[in-house]
Amino acid sequence: MEHEAHAWLAAIEASPFAVLMRESLWLYPLAGVLHVVGIGLLLGSIVAFDLRVLGAARAVPLADAARWLLPIARGGFVLAALTGAAMFSADATHLADNPAFLVKGALILLAGINVLLFHLVLWRGEPVAGPLTRRSALASAALWVCVASAGRLIAYF
């Protein structure tokens, strides 16, 4: 099982794209820069939306907040995910051993489950009133902040 996972990671690392990521002087740093831009867009917009759900800035209708902020969050996530995958490919076997990276992966999974819970169960054009909705918004803000923090800590382990 573990052997299989390592074979997989080694295969990713040996792929032509991963070789390009390593051998290009500027591709890896560029991915790193765009990764931060994606995180900034995701975190800024999702925390603003979560605060609105939690009751801040009531002057802004919730539907408007959702229409403006959620596409920015999605775009930021896609940018961060693509550039993150690119950087991961360059160094897959080592990253899979990095505790901060593993914690980050688990947190992204939890944040994703929370996104599904919110949009499939707690959102009907506007949030369903109740403590679960507020907890989901709070969890969203906390989880994405922790995802970004764990990501930064990869460089320290």
């Binding site: 051998e23 002087l25 500027w26 740093p29 160094d91 460089a155």
Partner: protein, 116 residues
């Protein structure tokens, strides 16, 4: 003793693949710096970190350098890291793996390049 990570590095080395480590400074033991002079066996001037394999004191030491962009900005070109060249590094041993060091600086001839 050959650890799992070293075995993997050796496997990748045998396959002719670069195995640039992505470990932060925290994984290295700064309380026990080492100075090593050795002969370069193999070079990878790759992202996210360059690596040289140094033949020194009867063993092969994997020496993690800096990102290529940083080394170039500080005047260390890939052509200077030649197989067979004798270089001196100061660095810190990896806590969990034998024979891996993260270099604080590297000296080639008269030129010392800070890598952190």
């Amino acid at each position: 003793m050959i650890t799992r990570r070293f075995a993997l590095a050796a496997t990748l080395a045998a396959a002719g693949l670069p195995a640039a480590a992505h470990h932060g400074w925290g994984g290295y033991d700064a309380a026990n710096p080492v100075n090593v002079t050795g002969t370069i066996q193999r070079v990878s001037f790759d992202n996210p970190h360059g690596t040289i394999w140094l033949q020194a004191e009867g063993r092969t030491l994997e020496v993690v350098l800096a990102p290529p962009f940083r080394m170039l900005n500080r005047g260390l070109r890939s052509e200077q890291l030649k197989v067979g060249e004798t270089v001196t590094i100061m660095g810190y041993p990896r806590r969990t793996t034998a024979n891996e060091v993260r270099a604080e600086w590297i000296r080639i001839g008269q030129q010392t390049t800070q890598l952190r």
